[in-house]
Symmetry: C2
Subunit: 127 residues, 2 copies
């Protein structure tokens, strides 16, 4: 039986809360004008908020994780495989495993990237 108070619980215990507020976690710089924040996540599902300055680039890349992305703010030129489209608030795209995808922010904006399984490397990076 533990006598540990709630305020001194280790991070692993706090992480058991179902809630992850934007003020609860740090931002990680990803590249020029891009930063991300890992919000709610479990082993097979992870939600990441990514903020872009105008003209910032999410370089084309690929990974085995399936990804769905929601445009929460701004406008983006998006490339998924050979397909290209400009997306605004309320729009989304889906990236199957290993398909190359990337974005350019046409104005300051925010993407909600969600992955299955989780991008474990984002946690290792301290995000």
């Amino acid at each position: 039986m533990s006598t540990q108070s709630a305020s001194s619980l280790p991070a692993t215990a706090r992480a058991e809360s179902p809630f992850v507020g934007t003020d609860d976690v740090a931002w990680t710089a990803v590249g020029a004008g891009v930063r991300r924040q890992v919000l709610g996540h479990g082993p097979d599902l992870m939600l990441v908020r990514v903020e872009f300055e105008r003209d910032a680039v999410g370089t084309v890349h690929h990974h085995p994780h399936r990804q769905v992305t929601y445009v929460a703010a701004g406008r983006f030129a998006v490339q998924v495989g050979d397909a290209r489209r400009e997306l605004g608030v309320g729009d989304s795209f889906f990236a199957v495993a290993d398909v190359p995808h990337g974005v350019v922010a046409l104005e300051p904006g925010t993407l909600i990237d969600v992955f299955t399984p989780a991008r474990e490397e984002f946690l290792a990076a301290g995000a």
Copy 2:
């Protein structure tokens, strides 16, 4: 070999595009003051935009799918298992398999619900 034109392609063919814009798909009434729109999705990942009028209720329910939710607009009183918290824009919650969860919209708002695996019944409902 099909002579079908692009404009008459069945939904299954159109669904192969990686892009799902908010103007591309219908809204489905979920309950009083609540409607949803299924955006990007594949068999093991589905993103759903849910809009709430003030005081609208997402009734406490549970399902085996893991869920992560992002508050895109408004403020919500959220319950996940025995935990309760008020969430605003940028906040999130995670629901493990079969944990009861529900929300009350404290003002007009939008949640981004993401599931693994996909909620196939949402597609069957015509959303």
